[in-house]
């Protein structure tokens, strides 16, 4: 699509949406949000970018192939689950640390995995469809 308004707006909106998606991801444990919703927002952002600038440009911008992102997300989630084995706990048990009073744990890492899977999967689909056009 060749529209200066869209291209210009997309540049700003994509960045904002990606930032917002990270915000959703990180706040998910206490407020509405989480990896799945965050992933959907990020995928929408990338899609918007692709509509405005073409899939090739978006592919260049994200550097890593969307399929790789999806598979990497599954790997991250599994690693987050396996981490529990270090202390002999069952698979997917949450491990927590409190640097400076902020609770950080393997569930957050797991949520990052969910986020990456959703971004990767949706992007895989829409890129394939767009390129096929």
């Amino acid at each position: 699509m060749n529209s200066i308004i869209l291209t210009t707006a997309a540049r700003l909106v994509t960045a904002l949406m990606l930032l917002f998606s990270l915000y959703l991801l990180l706040r998910g444990h206490n407020e509405p949000g989480g990896g799945f919703v965050g992933g959907l927002v990020a995928a929408s952002a990338l899609y918007l970018h692709a509509i405005a600038n073409g899939v090739a440009a978006t592919r260049r911008a994200i550097r890593v192939g969307p399929r790789t992102i999806a598979v990497f997300g599954v790997a991250v989630a599994i690693v987050a689950g396996l981490a529990a084995a270090v202390v002999g706990a069952p698979f997917l048990s949450g491990l927590w640390a409190f640097p400076a009073g902020i609770p950080l744990g393997t569930p957050l890492l797991f949520d990052v995995g969910v986020y990456l899977v959703v971004v990767g999967a949706v992007t895989t689909l829409v890129f394939a469809l767009e390129e096929d056009a």
């Binding site: 407020e31 959907l40 997300g73 989630a77 797991f110 949520d111 899977v117 829409v126 469809l129």
Partner: protein, 756 residues
């Protein structure tokens, strides 16, 4: 043949296999004294304790005998294979399969827990599939391997069902405890079902009639594999199971008659077919089936002497059968053929192989002083002691044994003696690693025959005690005195030798007769397989005709019909006693949603129809918001937006409705009825759900545990990433795989006409 250079030394994994087998032999031998004094060794590791599943093993006389055969024969087979497989492709893979198979087999005979037994049982099925189909470039080999996998795989399923029922009836998952619960199991209402299922499992694995056809077909495997599968392992697994379950199941008329008749029919039928073969390997294969039938026949009995006969024959058979298979491999290797009619006078060119073959054949035919003779005497003694029909069993044993004598002659006398026949490859002796195994195994048959009391005490007696579940005394001896068994032995020899000398004529007559058979096991298998494939094709054509409309119709019709029927049968149709007050703005959203749902029916533009569905989705998201589920509302809204955009992209690429794409008037009526029924059933379902009391148990738990245990206040997300993270993991894997699948489909379509 690359007999020189690096390859001739054999693949390193081959030597690993040999070393592993030898180590196994050493361990097993070191346990013989202890076990034969009546000790049972156990090892148990919890696996799934909540289900009574343990990784438990036991070593008693029976499992030790099998373990000795598996490792001992494995060592010689491995040694043989290092030479036999040299110069062939993928030798490393071959030895890997062989090792995996051996370990599975050892696990099977040592297992105490039924689930452990079943897992190893299935592993032998899978690994033997790889071994039989090792020559994967040949379609024949692939088909035969597949056949073995299907037949034994179906038996495996029956076995699993039978074992679980057995555990329910006997009140334990441990075979050693089930052995003591025999009374209970035999008088249990489920006993007939247990018996049938377990016997199907054992009979398919051990190639009993009418499942015998897969075994000779498994000859597609490389010769060392055939030798191993047939002598000590795969096919003996079913026999092992019958031995192991003997204390729990044996003694009822059902057991006695099923095993006696199936065993006798298998033994006789197989020995007849064996006589008809010209391929040495195939003739041997059928004698294996014959041996398995004989073992089954004797296992029908509870008489001590019959079990002793079975155990002794098991040992005899393992030794000579492995030796003879390896000998046939040597012949094949040395002459380039294994057709009985094209061989003769090899004794001069292959002296060592000749000696090995002769010794093995003498044991097979049951000449004194070989162990085979003792085995045969015991068989007759056992046959006369069975409770069912001694004369029937004895007669079956005599006929089968006589044919065995003849086959022994065909395999081990005819190729080596008489006038020399020219072969394509100039006959030459096999290398050391190939003749050593058959020679040692054949001579073990002789050595064991010379020290029968020792063998009886160290190997046979403990195994018989294990099978019968109480200490038994078994004495083996070469000379039993002038009695009926000896007379039967002499009768056997006479008939056997006569059959050997007339075997060319007998073979022609048998071939003539068998060609007139209406159906063989193999035909039946092919027909059943063809029938299943036909059925699959027909139902696929009906249910999955390629039209998306039809798929959806079946999905919705099945759901509506299934849920509706359940609601009516379960008497769960409810009407709320009082309607809640719904505020006006919520009514507004409901109308909004309803309008969105009606729109796609009225418009012809697909884009407008998709837009209507978007309205439905957004309305539902609003309802979620009203009822305090912001997480679900956000997700719903985002999914809805993405769905709309993606659908729009897809729709742009679709052609307009053409031909069968449009449902037509009748189709629209049908769809309308289904949609109305679906909506009605869904409404009733929701009303039924609302009517039943909601359990607040879980809600309370999550409210209480969310912050202290998982450090999160958003319970929905805490459940997703912590409490029920395994579910989420499954879901994201599905999402990733679905995306990859869709990607492949899209690219496949796009790839048409393009190269990339």
């Amino acid at each position: 043949m690359a007999e020189t250079g690096v390859k001739a030394r054999g693949h390193p994994l081959g030597w690993v296999f040999v070393a592993f087998s030898l180590a196994g032999v050493m361990v097993a031998l070191s346990l013989v004294t202890e076990v034969s004094s009546g000790v049972t060794l156990r090892l148990s590791v919890p696996w799934v304790p909540s289900l009574g599943v343990q990784l438990s093993f036991l070593i008693d006389g029976l499992s030790l005998l099998f373990a000795l055969l598996i490792t001992g024969i494995g060592a010689f087979v491995g040694l043989y294979a290092t030479a036999y497989m040299s110069g062939q492709a993928l030798t490393g893979r071959f030895f890997f399969y062989l090792l995996a198979f051996q370990i599975a087999m050892l696990g099977l005979v040592l297992a105490d827990n039924i689930i452990t037994l079943f897992v190893f049982w299935e592993l032998t099925t899978v690994t033997s599939y790889f071994l039989i189909g090792f020559d994967h470039a040949s379609e024949q080999a692939r088909r035969k391997a597949w056949q073995a996998l299907l037949v034994t795989g179906i038996g495996g399923l029956a076995l699993l069902a039978g074992l679980l029922l057995l555990a329910a009836a006997g009140g334990s998952m441990e075979l050693s405890e089930l052995a003591n619960a025999g009374e209970e199991i035999r008088s249990h209402a489920l006993y007939p079902a247990i018996l049938v299922l377990l016997l199907v499992g054992a009979f398919t694995k051990s190639a009993q009639f009418p499942f015998h056809f897969w075994l000779p077909n498994a000859m597609a495997a490389p010769t060392p594999v055939s030798a191993y599968l047939h002598s000590a392992t795969m096919v003996k697994a079913g026999i092992y199971l019958l031995f192991r379950l003997h204390p729990a199941l044996a003694g009822t008329p059902e057991w006695i008659w099923t095993l006696t008749i199936v065993g006798a029919v298998t033994a006789l039928w197989a020995s007849v077919i064996a006589l008809r073969q010209t391929d040495l390997k195939l003739a041997l294969a059928y004698t294996t089936v014959m041996a398995l039938g004989t073992l089954t026949m004797f296992l029908g009995s509870e008489a001590r002497i019959a079990i002793a006969a079975a155990i002794t024959f098991l040992l005899v058979h393992a030794l000579y059968k492995c030796a003879l298979f390896l000998v046939v491999g040597c012949i094949d290797h040395g002459t380039g053929t294994r057709e009985a009619d094209r061989l003769g006078g090899l004794a001069r060119a292959m002296p060592i192989t000749t000696v090995a073959a002769a010794a093995a054949a003498l044991s097979m035919a049951g000449f004194p002083p070989f162990l085979g003779f003792i085995g045969k005497e015991l068989k007759y003694e056992g046959a006369l002691a069975v409770a069912s029909e001694p004369m029937f069993v004895a007669a079956a044993a005599v006929i089968a044994n006589a044919m065995m004598v003849a086959v022994a002659g065909i395999v081990a006398v005819r190729p080596f003696f008489g006038p020399a026949v020219a072969t394509t490859v100039k006959a030459h002796e096999a290398p050391l690693r190939m003749w050593l195994g058959p020679l040692v195994l054949a001579f073990l048959g002789l050595v064991f025959g010379l020290v029968p009391p020792y063998i009886g005490e160290a190997l046979v007696q403990p195994a018989v005690s294990a099978v019968l579940g109480q200490p038994e005394t078994v004495k083996l001896a070469l000379w039993h005195g002038l009695n009926l068994p000896l007379l039967l032995s002499i009768l056997t020899m006479t008939i056997g030798v006569a059959l050997y000398f007339g075997h060319l004529r007998v073979r022609a007559a048998l071939a003539n007769l068998m060609d007139r058979l209406p159906i063989t096991g193999n035909d039946a298998y092919e027909r059943i397989k063809g029938g299943i494939l036909w059925l699959a094709k027909v139902q696929t054509a009906v249910l999955q005709g390629g039209s998306l409309r039809r798929y959806l119709f079946f999905v919705f019709a099945a759901t509506t019909g299934g849920v509706g029927t359940t609601l009516i049968i379960g008497d769960a149709v409810r009407w709320p006693a009082e309607w809640p007050v719904i505020p006006v703005y919520e009514w507004g959203v409901v109308l909004f949603v309803a309008a969105g749902a009606v729109l796609p029916i009225l418009v012809r533009s697909r884009l407008a129809a998709i837009g209507g569905l978007g309205v439905v989705g957004s309305g539902v998201a609003l309802i979620f918001l009203f009822y305090g589920a912001p997480d679900v509302a956000i997700t719903q809204l985002l999914v809805e937006v993405l769905f709309l955009v993606i659908m729009a992209v897809i729709l742009l690429k679709l052609p307009r409705f053409v031909g069968q794409g449009h449902p037509g008037r009748g189709g629209r009526t049908r769809d309308l009825v289904l949609a109305a029924a679906g909506g009605l059933v869904m409404t009733l379902l929701l009303l039924a759900v609302l009517d039943s009391a909601m359990s607040v148990h879980l809600t309370r738990f999550f409210e209480a545990a969310s912050v202290p245990d998982a450090h999160g206040r958003n319970i929905v997300n805490v459940i997703l990433v912590d409490f029920r993270a395994l579910d989420t993991l499954g879901e994201i894997i599905v999402v990733a795989v679905a995306a990859l699948g869709a990607f492949a489909l899209i690219k496949l379509r796009a790839g048409r006409g393009r190269s990339s």
